[in-house]
Every structure is written in C-alpha cells, then in structure tokens.
C-alpha cells in the first residue's frame, strides 16, 4: 500500500493527503456533533421525565392515601398532553397498581427491573423513571413513567442531515482549492523531472530548467542548472584528459607490473638475507661468547707458572667452550720425542695416553685434522682403538716449535661444526703460545740459576736456597748439611790437557754429583773447581757418609779426552751442619770451607768435618783457601 503510494505522482499524493486530512477532520466533527446532540437530547428527555414524575407524584398523594382510583386515573390522564410519555403507573405502598396510563401499542419494561428506590434508566430508545411518593415523611406509593426518544431522534435526524450535506459541500470546496494550489507545486516539479528524463535520454547536458520561483523548488532548479553547467564543463575536460589518461594508465600498469616483480624478488632476497643475518648474528653471538671465553682463558694461562697449573684452566674453559663431548691436552716431550697426555675432560673416546708424533695426522701435517665420520674418515693411529666417534686433532705450534696436540671428541649424537673447529683452532693457538711462553719462562729461570757449563745450580741460587732452608730448619729444629767439595790438583788438568779437558772433568764430575745426591739435595758449582752440596734435613752422620761416598766415587770416573785417558779425579770434602757449625749462610759455608781447608792441609783426597762453633776464624781464612797451591 505504502509502496504503491510512493510511486504515484506528487500531484496525486498531495491531493490524497489533503483529501484524507479534510475527510478525517470533517468526519470527526460530524461524529462529535451528532453524538453530543444525541446525548443532550437524551439528558433533556430524562430531566423532563423526572420533573413530570415529581409533579404527578405530588398531585397524586391524596388519591393514593384515600386509595381513590378514579382520582388517580384523572391525574395520569394529564400525561396524554405529552406525546413522548408512553406509560404512567401509580402504585400504592404495597406495590399494587392503583392506576395506569398507557399509549396503545406500547410495550412497557418489566416491573422486575425496578426496585423500590429512585431509579432512572435509559435503555435504547426508552427512558424509565421510577420515584417513590412520600407524604409527611411517609411512603404513600410510587410512580413509574416511561417515555420514548423516537420523536427526539426524528428531530435529531432533521438537524443532522442538512449538516452532513453542508460538510460534504465544504469537503468538495476544500478539495477544489487544494487541487488548484497543488498545481503550483506539481507543475514545476514535473518540469524538473521531465528535464531530467530528457537529459538522461538524450545525454544532453546543455538543457536548463526554466523556472521563475523563489521557493525551494526554485532553489532546486537553480542548483540543477548550476550542476548541469559544471557537468558540461567537466565533460569537456574529461574528454580532453581521457586520451592522455589512457596512455598514462597503460604506462603505469606496465611499470607496476615490473615493480611488482621486482618487489617480489626483493622480498624473497630480503627474507633470505634476514635468515642469513639471523644465522650470522647467532654465530656472531656464539663467537663473541667464545672469544671472550678464549680471552679469559688466555688471561688465566698468562699467570700460570708451571705446566701443571694450566690443566685446571684448560679443563674449565674447554669444557665451557665445547660443552658437548670431551677432549684432552697432549704435550710433546722433545727429549723423548713422545706426545704425552697432560689432562683430559668430559666424555672422551679412549685415546692413547702416550704416542709418537707420527701417530697423529695433525702433528704430521701441522694442521687441523678432522674426522667427521669415523666409519669413512682417516683415523689417527693414536685414536684408532677408540670407539667410533667423530673427533678433531689440533696441532699446537708456537714460534715454529711443536708444543703438542689438542684433541676433541664429539659425542655420538653431536657433530663437529665449523664454529667448533674455529674454537678448537683458536684454543689450540692460544694454548700453544701460552705453553711456549711458559716453557720459555722456565728455561730463562733455569738459565738464571744454573751454571751453563755443568748445568748445576749456580752460587746465587745456592745462596737463596740455603737461606730459605736455614730459616726453615732453624724453625722446626732440623739440621741442614753443607758439603764443600774441591777437585784436587785441578790446575794440573788444565795445564796438562788444556782447558777443554778441564771442562770435561768439571762436566763429568757434575753429572756424577747429580746422580749421587738425593732428589731433595741441591748440587751447585760454587766457583772454579769448587762445588757445594746442600742437604736439607740431613744430620752430621748422613752428611759425612755422603761426603765419603762422593770422595770414594770420584776416582772411578773414566774420562777420555782426544782419545787419551785423563788421570783419575780426586776430591777433598769439608762438611758442616747447622746449627752445630753455624745458623746462618756465612757461618755455615765458612765452617765447611774451613773443614775443606783442613782436608787439603791434611793431604787431600779426604773428608773433614768442621769444628764446632767458632766459625769466624774460618771465614777469615777464606782468602787463604782460595790461594791454596
């Protein structure tokens, strides 16, 4: 319904709206008028009937009291003058009918509807009034009246019908006026809509609306005209640009396609690069960690004093650098031409603890040897009897000198990556340098405390060691013995066989001394052909026995120089023991020196013990001893 209304023309819409509005207003007025008139008529009829009841009631009291039917009938007959009143009945107090007036053909309401109180009923077209009648405060009877509304309805119809007619005429006039006025709206709108239809059909934007109005439609028309003008202008511009635009579009499309392709490729490359970068970053991080660990290890190695000290450092750091698997550090012993295990850590395949340089491919080639697959790889002989595990051997070479080999075994699950190789190489390098430095330091130290000819400790070392030993033995009550040995007639060797023979004597005798003394004893070349044996913890008896052993053993050395036998070596020995012969270095050595002097004086090739206590004289005789013949 509403959809259909939407589609009809504005003119018809306006008419329908006006028509409905007029019709509703007029109908409502007519209904209200009719109803109110009718209600008024009914009220009037009721009021009239009530006043009649009152009048008749008052007039009929005597007739009721004296039960006079005739008089009552006379009174009721007065109702005949009112044509609307159809029924009048008087009842005595017992409710019995005294007299009745009734229009012929009238059907009265039932008495049962009415009780004995005042009642007014309007039922359809009938008005009923019942009133009790009193006299001097006493009920003397009652009256029932009924009237019809027919005459009043007829009157109402007579009034309403012309009114309705007038309403219809008014409606017609209003519609006529609306029709005329609506044209002032519908015509211009139709003009506009016709224009639009023409424009869309002919595609002609040069058409214009021709309206001379100042209302909203006029504004609309002006707007439409302005819009049309702009469209016309744009049309021209668009036409001009279209060709150019098409070219542009084609060009741009091609460019876009290329760009897309490039972007795609770049994106792929970018992703790859990112992946690589991530990997590199991870490796870098690992390398950073490793290098800091390596440098830490290096720092620790720098402060190691002996080869033994480096074992825990190597174990600790290599285990952290390469947590998977295990390994071992093997050092090359030059004197024995063997490679020996120093320390091992982690889970390691069984590798020979001692092996020859040739048994390791890394040592043979002087570069890293990797076995990734023990089934097919070239196994080093020193690893060949181990379980089948991947491993790496890194040679440790520093200053062109072979130091040893660093061995790393992988576990059965892990493999040996490039990073691992790098770490092992670096670790091996660092270790090699550190160990080489350590050895160098040791060698330097050796040089500083040893006599180069005999390789015995020198006088300076003796001095220091004796001081230390004396301090110790004085503290714990032990004794320290000092043997001072001098080769008899050494000047004769030099004179007869030359300095070289002298050197041989000294060297051989030194070797003899080294082999004879205990490991804790310290053998020194004190100067020239003079030697001192320091025996920590030895008492006088032990010292004397050892002195005798040396004296008696020396002649058994068989010395050859230039194919000729050199005469037997004989020595004199002076023995002094602390604290018996002195509790300081000077006193003790002085006492031993004095005893040696005594041995020389007594004929050489003998052992003499120092004299107790007074050693100052011995010290004074020191020069004389040195100038002995």
């Amino acid at each position: 319904m509403i959809r259909r209304f939407k589609n009809i023309s504005i003119g018809h819409k306006l008419l329908i709206i006006y028509g409905i509005a007029c019709f509703v207003v007029l109908s409502l007025s007519a209904v209200v008028l009719t109803v109110s008139t009718w209600l008024n008529a009914r009220d009037a009829a009721q009021v009239e009937l009530e006043s009649i009841a009152k009048l008749i009631g008052a007039n009929s009291t005597a007739a009721l009291v004296f039960n006079d039917t005739g008089a009552a009938q006379e009174i009721l007959e007065t109702l005949r003058t009112n044509p609307d009143v159809m029924l009048g009945v008087l009842f005595n107090p017992a409710g019995e009918e005294l007299s009745r007036y009734q229009e012929p053909g009238f059907e009265p309401v039932s008495r049962a509807l009415i009780d004995d109180t005042e009642t007014t009923l309007i039922d359809g077209m009938q008005v009923t009034v019942y009133r009790p009648i009193t006299l001097d405060g006493q009920a003397v009877g009652s009256i029932l009246l009924q009237s019809t509304l027919h005459s009043r309805l007829a009157h109402l119809q007579g009034t309403i019908l012309p009114l309705l007619g007038m309403l219809l005429v008014t409606f017609a006039i209003a519609m006529a006026i609306a029709l005329v006025l609506a044209r002032s709206i519908t015509l211009p709108i139709r003009h506009l809509s016709d224009l639009m239809v023409r424009i869309s059909r002919e595609d002609n934007f040069q058409l214009r609306a021709r309206l001379n109005q100042k209302d909203e439609i006029g504004v609309l028309a002006e707007g439409v005209n302005g819009m049309l003008a702009r469209i016309e202008q744009r049309d021209a511009e668009i036409g001009a640009h279209r060709h150019h635009l098409e070219e542009q579009v084609e060009k741009r499309t091609a460019e876009l396609r290329d760009a897309n392709l490039r972007v795609k490729t770049e994106l792929e490359e970018l992703a790859r690069a990112e992946k690589e970068l991530k990997q590199a970053h991870q490796e870098l991080e690992l390398q950073h960690t490793n290098s800091s660990l390596l440098s830490e290890m290096n720092d620790r190695l720098q402060v190691c004093h002996a080869i033994e000290d480096i074992s825990p450092v190597v174990t600790h750091y290599l285990h952290r650098l390469l947590p998977e698997g295990g390994g071992g550090l093997y050092l090359f012993d030059r004197t024995r031409s063997l490679v020996e295990s120093v320390v091992t850590w982690g889970e390691m395949a069984s590798v020979d603890a001692v092996f020859a340089q040739e048994e390791c491919w890394a040592l043979r080639q002087g570069r890293l040897h990797v076995v990734e697959d023990p089934e097919s790889g070239l196994l080093c002989p020193h690893c060949s009897n181990g379980s089948a595990q991947a491993y790496v051997c890194a040679p440790m070479i520093a200053y062109g000198e072979l130091i040893g080999v660093l061995h790393l075994s992988a576990t059965e699950t892990s493999s040996i990556s490039g990073a691992t190789r790098q770490v092992i190489l670096s670790a091996a390098e660092h270790l090699a340098v550190a160990i080489a430095n350590l050895r160098l330091r040791e060698a330097l130290h050796m040089k500083s405390v040893r006599d180069p000819l005999t390789d015995l400790f020198n006088r300076r070392y003796l001095q220091e060691t004796l001081e230390r030993e004396l301090a110790r033995t004085n503290r714990n009550g032990h004794s320290t013995a000092v043997l001072m040995i001098d080769i008899d007639h050494f000047k004769g060797f030099n004179d007869l066989y030359g300095h070289e023979a002298g050197d041989i004597v000294l060297r051989e005798f030194a070797t003899f001394l080294r082999d004879t003394v205990r490991t804790e004893d310290v053998a020194c070349r004190y100067g020239g052909e003079e030697f001192i044996i320091l025996m920590p913890g030895a008492d006088l008896e032990i010292a004397r026995e050892r002195a005798e052993q040396i004296r008696s053993g020396a002649p058994e050395l068989s010395l050859v120089h230039n194919g000729k036998a050199v005469p037997k070596v004989r020595v004199s020995v002076g023995v002094a023991v602390s604290p018996l012969h002195g509790d300081n270095v000077e006193a003790l050595i002085g006492a031993a020196d004095a005893a040696l002097y005594t041995a020389k004086r007594d004929g050489r090739d003998r052992v003499r013990l120092a004299k107790p206590v007074n050693g100052t004289g011995a010290l004074r005789d020191r020069k004389r001893v040195n100038q002995r013949p």
Binding site: N59, T61, A62, A63, V65, F66, N67, D68, A71, E74, N92, P93, A94, E96, L135, D136, Q138, A139, V140
Partner: protein, 181 residues
C-alpha cells in the same frame, strides 16, 4: 434501622387501609383511617403551644371504633403526636385539634354544632347525615359499599383551617362559597 421499622409500619398501615376500604371489612376501621389521613391534608393555625404540641383526637359520645382507634395513639402527623381522648362533655372539646361526633349524639347535634362553631382550630368530623350541611367540616358517608366524604370549606375557613385541594379533588361534594386552592 429506625427507618426500616417505620417503613414496615407504614406498609402494615397501608395494607390495613386498603383492607378497610372494602365493604366487608369493618366500616369504622376504614373511618378511623380516613380520620387519620385527613389530618395530613389540613393546616392548623399556629398556636401558643407550638408546632410540636400534641394533637388530641377527641371522640364525642359513644365510641364506635373500638380498639382500632387506640392504634392511632402516639402516631405523629406534621410533627405532632396524636392522642385519643374519649369524652361526652362539650367543654372538653376546646383543647382538641380534631373532634369526631359519634352518631350517638345525633339528637343534640344542633346544640353541639352551636358550641363547635365558636372554636377556632378544631377540625370537626362526623358520620351523622347532613353534618356538613349543618356546619360540620367533613362528613363521612357510605356509597356503593365505599366510604366517601363531603367537605364544608366555609366551616373550615371560619375555624382558620386550610384543607388541601388534593383532598377536595377526592371529596364527593364540597359545600363552599369559596375554595382555598
């Protein structure tokens, strides 16, 4: 509750009056009801005793009503309480509001009428024939087995009594030079 009782009493009386109107019921019972009803339609002049003073109903001569009359005792009319007085003495009548002259007094009716004519505010009723013509105010008589009445308005007017026109409409005849409607 009180109003309910009154209504019952009224209905009872109405039934009684209706019954009396028939010929076969007691003639004097009907007449007693008539006397009571007349009192409702008569206006007495104002007296010194006031509007709520008693309303004595006097029976002159033999009492033909019997005990039915005593039912009127204490009944109020226009705010006044009715009381029944039986007497043979004419001098007693001056304090009555209504007098019923019994038919036993027919012989001395002239003497009685003469005495009554001087008393103001006294309603005179009798069933003696010719009572209205002789100056009585209301005369009761029987016609077709029904009790009817005649009214002498002149007498009433002289006694300063006003009888309602509603009664006059019912009267069989009215003796009057003028009516007070």
């Amino acid at each position: 509750m009180n109003a309910y009782r009154i209504l019952i009493a009224c209905l009872a009386l109405a039934v009684a009056v209706t019954a009396m109107a028939r010929a076969d019921t007691g003639e004097y019972e009907v007449k007693a009801a008539f006397i009571y009803n007349f009192a409702k339609f008569v206006e007495w002049p104002e007296t010194d005793a006031g509007a709520d003073a008693a309303m004595p109903l006097c029976i002159l001569g033999d009492d033909p009503f019997g005990p039915v009359l005593d039912t009127l005792n204490g009944r109020t009319i226009q705010g006044r309480s009715m009381n029944v007085v039986r007497t043979r003495n004419l001098t007693d009548l001056s304090r009555c509001s209504i007098v019923f002259v019994s038919s036993s007094e027919r012989r001395r009716i002239d003497e009685i009428m003469q005495h009554l004519s001087g008393i103001s505010g006294l309603l005179t009723i009798s069933d003696i024939g010719g009572f209205a013509e002789h100056g009585g105010m209301i005369e009761l008589r029987l016609a077709d087995d029904r009790v009817r009445f005649l009214v002498n308005l002149d007498s009433a007017g002289r006694a300063e009594l006003s009888i309602s026109s509603r009664i006059l409409r019912l009267a069989q005849s009215v003796v009057a030079g003028e009516t007070d409607t």
